[in-house]
C-alpha cells in the first residue's frame, strides 16, 4: 500500500528521500511528497501521479538534515495534491506521513472539532488527524515545541498514539526540530535503522538495502524517536525496548532492474534460481528437512489472498493427494470473519510480503483459537514470519513487480514441501516416491531455463498474443492441479493488461461460463495430468465449436493437443507435481506480452499496490 520513509542526521536528506521513494514506488503511486525540516519552517513538496512528477519540485531545496517522505495508494480521499502526504497541522508546524487506516476517524474528527473549532481540515484523509491531535496535545500539555525536551515530546506522542485505533505506520517531524523524527507502528510495517550518525525509517526492507546493513524490526505497538545519535524504541506499555539490530537478508542488486526493462520480466527470469534456493537444504533423496510442521494434523486450513490463494489451492491438491489429509482453503479475509470450527487443525498462511493485513489477521484469529500456525512467506523478517509457530521462507528475494510471479513459484514449492513432509508423516508418500521426485526437481531449473530461451515458444507466444488483439474477455481452463494455474493465469492477465479474464475448472464450463463464449473469444486451456487430461481436451473442443480461439498449454510428450486447439504451446516434460509451474511461466509471459502490447505499465498496474497492508 503506501510507503513511508524518513532520514535524520544526513546532509543529503532530499536525495536520500527521493531514492527511498523510488524503491517504494511499487507500494503506491497515486501521489507522493516530502517534507524537510530546516531551521525556520517545514518545507513541503507534493505531487499527484508518479514520482517523476515530484522530482523537479525538489531540485533546488535548501539543505536539511531531517525529513520524511511518502508514496501514496489512496484509501481515504481521492489521489489529489491536497490528499497527498505529508500532512500538516493547522499551524504548519507538525508534518505527518502515515500508512494504514485510522478506524476511529469519525470520532477523532468530532473530538478535534469540539476541542478547537479553529482547526481546518485540509484534506479528506484520516492521516491528517494525527498532526492535529499532536498539535492539540502539545498545547494542552503546555509544551513549547521549540525548546521542549525529548521526554516531554515523547510523552505527548504516546498520548496521541493511545487515542488511535486501526492500523498505522507513522512518522512525524516538527518545525525547528531537525534533530529527530517520531515514529510508531501498529498492524502496518515499519523498520528502523541507526548507525550512530544517520537514522532511517522505512516501510520495507527493500528501500534501505544499500544504505544500511542492520535494521530493527518493530513489534506491534512499538513507537519511539529517531535522533541524530540513536534510535529509542518503546513498547506499547511505554517501556524502553532493548533490542539488537538484525542483519539485512537481501543484497542491493536484487532490488534493482540490472539491465532489465521491467521488474516483472526480471522476476520471471529469476524463477530457476528461486527453485534452487527454495529447495536448497530442504529436499533430498530420502528426507524433507529444514522446516518443522508444528502439529501433526487431521485437518489443515490454508489462508491467503490473490496469488497466494492460488498457490494455496495448488497446495491443497498436493496435500490431499500426497498425505490424504483433508484441507479447507479460505481467502484470508473470509476465514477471519467466518467462524471456523471442527477439530484442532494446522493453519497455513501464505503471503509474499508477510505483511498482508488479511492474512496476518487470519493467523492472529487462528492463534486465538489455539490452532498451530505455519507461514509460507517470502520476507522472513515480516510480521507474519515472526508471528507464526513455524516458518517456511520461500527465498524468492525481493519481489518488486506488483503482479507476483516468482513468489508464486516459491509459494507452490513451499506447499509441495509441506505436502511431501505430511505425506511422509502419514506414510502415504514413500521413500521411492521422494527419490523419484527429487531427481526431477533437480532438473526443474534447467527445464525453466530451456523454456525461457526457447525460440519456438517465443514465436508461439507472439502468435497467441494476436488472439487477444481487440479482445476484452478471456478464459483460462484447467482441471485438478492445472486449475489453480488457470486462476493464476487469469489473475495475472487482468492485473496487468486490464483484460477481463476468468479462470474456471474445466468441469464447470457447462454450468454457466460457456454462455459467455463467442466467436473469437481467446481461451487458454492448461493441460492436466492423468485421466482428467482427456476431459480437458473435450472441454477445448466444446469451446472451439462455439467459435473460441483455443490456446493449449501442454508438455512436449502430449501428442493429442494439436487436434484440439488452434495453437499449442509445449513446455519441457517434468514430474507431474512440478508440471504446473512450467505452464504457469507460459501464462506469465503471455500476460506480460499482451499488457506491454496494450501499453500498460506491467510493474505498476493501475489501482493496485504490492503488499496489501490494509483490509
Amino acid at each position: 500500500m503506501c510507503g513511508i520513509f524518513g532520514v535524520t542526521g544526513d546532509s543529503s536528506t532530499t536525495e536520500l528521500l527521493i531514492r527511498g521513494l523510488k524503491r517504494m514506488e511499487y507500494r503506491g503511486y497515486d501521489s507522493s511528497g516530502i517534507c524537510l525540516v530546516n531551521g525556520k519552517q517545514l518545507i513541503r513538496k507534493r505531487a499527484v501521479g508518479p514520482l517523476s512528477n515530484l522530482e523537479p519540485l525538489v531540485e533546488n531545496l535548501p539543505d536539511s538534515e531531517c525529513g520524511i517522505a511518502h508514496t501514496r495508494w489512496a484509501t481515504h480521499g481521492a489521489p489529489t495534491q491536497e490528499n497527498a502526504h505529508p500532512h500538516f497541522s493547522t499551524d504548519s508546524k507538525i508534518a505527518v506521513v502515515h500508512n494504514g487506516i485510522i478506524e476511529n476517524e469519525v470520532e477523532l474528527r468530532k473530538k478535534i472539532k469540539s476541542i478547537d473549532d479553529g482547526i481546518n481540515f485540509q484534506s479528506e484523509t484520516d492521516s491528517e488527524l494525527v498532526a492535529h491531535l499532536l498539535s492539540i496535545e502539545f498545547k494542552n500539555s503546555k509544551v513549547d515545541i521549540k525548546t521542549a525536551k525529548e521526554e516531554e515530546i515523547l510523552s505527548c506522542w504516546k498520548s496521541v498514539l493511545d487515542t488511535l485505533e486501526g492500523s498505522f505506520a507513522l512518522a512525524v517531524v516538527i518545525e525547528s526540530r531537525k534533530d529527530f523524527i517520531l515514529f510508531a507502528r501498529k498492524f502496518a510495517p515499519l523498520i528502523i535503522s541507526h548507525d550512530g550518525e544517520r537514522g532511517i525509517l522505512a516501510s520495507d526492507v527493500s528501500c534501505v538495502v544499500g544504505l544500511t546493513e542492520n535494521v530493527f524490526y518493530l513489534n506491534e505497538g512499538d513507537w519511539g524517536i529517531l535522533t541524530n545519535s540513536e534510535a529509542q524504541i518503546f513498547n506499547i506499555d511505554g517501556d524502553l525496548v532493548e533490542t539488537e539490530p538484525k542483519k539485512l537478508e537481501w543484497k542491493l542488486g536484487e532490488a534493482e532492474l540490472g539491465g532489465y526493462p521491467t521488474f516483472m520480466l526480471k522476476e520471471i527470469y529469476e524463477q530457476p534460481r528461486v527453485v534452487r534456493d527454495c529447495l536448497r537444504g530442504r529436499l533430498s533423496r530420502d528426507k524433507i528437512k529444514g522446516f518443522s510442521i508444528p502439529f501433526n494434523p487431521r485437518l489443515l486450513r490454508i489462508v491467503g489472498c490473490g496469488t497466494a490463494y492460488n498457490a494455496g489451492l495448488l497446495a491443497r491438491y498436493y496435500i490431499e493427494q500426497l498425505s490424504k489429509i483433508p484441507v479447507i482453503l479460505d481467502h484470508a479475509h473470509e476465514f477471519r470473519y467466518g467462524a471456523p470450527s471442527g477439530p484442532k487443525s494446522l493453519v497455513i498462511g501464505i503471503s509474499q510480503s508477510g505483511e498482508t493485513a488479511d492474512t496476518l489477521a487470519a493467523i492472529d484469529a487462528a492463534q486465538e483459537r489455539g490452532y498451530p500456525t505455519l507461514g509460507i512467506v517470502n520476507v522472513e523478517s515480516s510480521t507474519i514470519a515472526r508471528n507464526v509457530d513455524s516458518l517456511l521462507g520461500i527465498r524468492a528475494g525481493p519481489e518488486i513487480g506488483v503482479a507476483s510471479t516468482k513468489a508464486f513459484t516459491g509459494q507452490v514449492l513451499g506447499g509441495l514441501l509441506v505436502a511431501m513432509k505430511l505425506g511422509q508423516l502419514s506414510k502415504t508418500f514413500h521413500r521411492e516416491d521422494l527419490s523419484y521426485f527429487d531427481r526431477h526437481a533437480r532438473m526443474l531449473p534447467t527445464s525453466m531455463e530451456r523454456m525461457l530461451n526457447d525460440q519456438n515458444i517465443k514465436t508461439k507466444l507472439w502468435e497467441a498474443q494476436q488472439y487477444f488483439v481487440g479482445k476484452n474477455h478471456a478464459f483460462f481452463l484447467g482441471r485438478n492441479t492445472s486449475y489453480p494455474i488457470a486462476l493464476e493465469g487469469a489473475l495475472k492477465l487482468k492485473e496487468i493488461s486490464y483484460i477481463h479474464a476468468e479462470g474456471y475448472a474445466g468441469g464447470e464450463l457447462k454450468h454457466g461460463p460457456l454462455a459467455l463464449v463467442e466467436e473469437g473469444t481467446p481461451i487458454i486451456v492448461i493441460a492436466s495430468e492423468g485421466s482428467s487430461h482427456k476431459k480437458l481436451l473435450g472441454n477445448a473442443r466444446e469451446v472451439a465449436s462455439r467459435g473460441a480461439k483455443v490456446i493449449f498449454i501442454t508438455h512436449q510428450e502430449d501428442d493429442l493437443a494439436e487436434s484440439h486447439a488452434d495453437l499449442v504451446i509445449k513446455v519441457p516434460r517434468t514430474h507431474d507435481l512440478l508440471q504446473p509451474l512450467l505452464y504457469n511461466i507460459i501464462c506469465q509471459l503471455l500476460s506480460l506480452n499482451i499488457a506491454e502490447e496494450r501499453g500498460c505499465n506491467v510493474d505498476r498496474p493501475r489501482n493496485l499496490a504490492k503488499s496489501v497492508t490494509v483490509e
Partner: protein, 404 residues
C-alpha cells in the same frame, strides 16, 4: 573510458550446451567465461562496461546485474537482430557517445589484465594479437614493426602469411568509429574487414602481443580452458561445507558452501566443486575437474579431468573422464565413459583431440550401464536406455534404445 563487450553470439558449435545460455555464460572452473573476463577488466582502470547481448541475454543480466558485485558499472545494450560484430558495436556505441576512445572485447575470449593494461598505454589505436596454431580460423595479422600492415579474415589455408592473429581486443578512437558506422550503413558487417579498409587508407594500429589469450570454439576447447583456469584455483574449503573427516582432500581444491563430502572420498586438486553439491561416499575426483553447484556424485564414482555443469546427477559406480556434462543431465549407475585420442572434422578442418570422452547438452538422461565410446557427442534431452553402447553424435531430443 569504457569497455564494450560483444556477447551476442550463441556459440553454435557447442551444440546443446548453448541451448539456454550463450557461450559466454558457460561455467569454467566455477564461474561463467564472461565473469573471468570481467575479473581481468576489473584489474585495469576500466570501470564502465557496456555488454552488448543478443542470444539468451536475460541470463547475462540476471547474473551480472548492475555490476556492483563485480566492482564495475555495467550497462547493457540489446541487439534486436543478429547483425555481425559491427552491428553489435554500433548499438553499443549509441550508449557511449561521451567517450573519445573505447576498448572493445569479445565476451567469449579470455585475455589477461596485463595485456589489456599494455594496450591501454597506447596513445592511438591499438590491437592485441597472439600467435595461434590454426590461424586460418581467425583474422590473420601481417605486421610491419609493431603496427598492423593487413588483416585477412579467415584466409584460405594456403594463403596464410603469418601465424599472428587478431584477438578481437581493440582500442579505437572515435573518428575510426565514425567511419565504421558509415561502412555499416553500406552493409559491411565485419569489424576486421572494415578496419582493414581503413588501414589501406592510412590508419595506424599499434599492436600488443599476448600469450594469455584463450578462445572457445568447440566443446573440447572448453576442456582446455577449464584446465587452464583451474590452475588459478586456490585451496578453499568453505566453512559452511560439510566435509567428512574420513575423506582425503589434497592440493588446490575449492569446495563451496552447503556442499557435503561423505566419508571415504578422495579429491585431488586442482578441483573446483561449487555450492550445495553432494559427493560420495567413496567417490574419487581427480585432476582438473570442475563440478558446478547443485551436483550430486554417487558412491564409488570416479571423475577425472571433466567439466560437470549445474545440477548434474551422477549415480553410483560411474567412471567419467575427459568429459563435458551439460546442466541437469542425469547419469544413472554404472555409466562408463571411455576416453582416448579423437579425430574430428568440422567444416573442412581436421581436429586432433588428445583426449575426449563424452560431451552432453542439457538435461540428458543416461540409464544404468551405458558405455560411451570416446568422442560421443549428445545434444540436449537425449535419452539413452540401459546398457546401450553409445557412440557418435545424437541430436537433441533423440532416444537411443537398445542394449540387452
Amino acid at each position: 573510458m569504457q569497455a564494450i563487450i560483444l556477447a551476442g553470439g550463441r556459440g553454435k558449435r557447442l551444440g546443446g550446451l548453448t541451448d539456454s545460455r550463450s557461450k559466454v555464460m558457460l561455467p569454467l572452473a566455477g564461474k561463467p567465461m564472461l565473469e573471468w573476463l570481467l575479473n581481468e577488466l576489473e584489474q585495469t582502470k576500466i570501470k564502465n562496461v557496456t555488454i552488448v547481448h543478443y542470444y539468451a541475454g536475460e541470463r547475462i543480466l540476471t547474473h551480472f546485474g548492475s555490476g556492483r558485485d563485480f566492482n564495475l558499472n555495467i550497462k547493457y545494450s540489446k541487439q534486436e537482430t543478429d547483425r555481425g560484430t559491427v552491428g553489435s558495436l554500433i548499438s553499443g556505441l549509441s550508449i557511449s557517445e561521451n567517450d573519445d576512445r573505447v576498448l572493445i572485447l569479445n565476451g567469449d575470449n579470455i585475455v589477461d589484465s596485463k595485456s589489456i593494461n599494455s594496450l591501454l598505454k597506447i596513445k592511438g589505436n591499438g590491437l592485441i594479437v597472439s600467435e595461434h596454431k590454426t590461424p586460418h580460423n581467425f583474422g590473420v595479422v601481417e605486421l610491419s614493426g609493431n603496427y598492423v600492415k593487413s588483416i585477412t579474415e579467415k584466409p584460405d589455408k594456403n594463403q596464410i602469411k603469418s601465424r599472428i592473429v587478431s584477438t578481437g581486443v581493440w582500442l579505437l578512437n572515435k573518428d575510426v568509429f565514425e567511419k565504421i558506422k558509415l561502412d555499416f550503413e553500406e552493409g559491411q558487417t565485419e569489424l576486421s574487414t572494415t578496419i582493414s579498409k581503413q588501414i589501406k587508407e592510412g590508419l595506424k594500429i599499434e599492436t600488443v602481443r599476448t600469450e594469455n589469450w584463450h578462445d572457445v570454439d568447440h566443446p573440447w576447447d572448453l576442456s582446455t580452458l577449464n584446465r587452464y583456469l583451474l590452475k588459478r584455483t586456490e585451496r578453499n574449503l568453505s566453512k559452511e561445507a560439510e566435509i567428512n573427516d574420513f575423506s582425503s582432500i589434497e592440493g588446490d581444491v575449492h569446495i563451496g558452501k552447503g556442499t557435503i563430502i561423505h566419508a571415504g572420498c578422495i579429491i585431488q586438486g586442482p578441483v573446483h566443486i561449487g555450492d550445495d553439491c553432494e559427493i560420495g561416499p567413496l567417490a574419487v575426483i581427480t585432476g582438473s575437474t570442475s563440478i558446478s553447484s547443485g551436483c550430486r556424485v554417487g558412491p564409488f564414482t570416479r571423475i577425472r579431468s571433466s567439466l560437470i555443469m549445474r545440477d548434474v546427477q551422477i549415480d553410483s559406480n560411474c567412471s567419467i573422464h575427459h568429459s563435458i556434462i551439460g546442466p541437469a543431465t542425469s547419469l544413472k549407475s554404472n555409466v562408463q565413459v571411455d576416453a582416448s585420442t579423437v579425430d574430428k572434422i568440422v567444416r573442412n578442418t581436421h581436429y586432433h583431440i588428445r583426449r575426449l570422452g563424452l560431451v552432453t547438452g542439457e538435461a540428458c538422461m543416461l540409464e544404468q550401464g551405458v558405455i560411451c565410446a570416446p568422442g560421443t557427442m549428445l545434444g540436449s534431452q537425449v535419452y539413452v536406455s540401459r546398457r546401450v553402447n553409445l557412440e557418435g553424435e545424437h541430436n537433441t531430443g533423440s532416444k537411443v534404445i537398445g542394449g540387452s
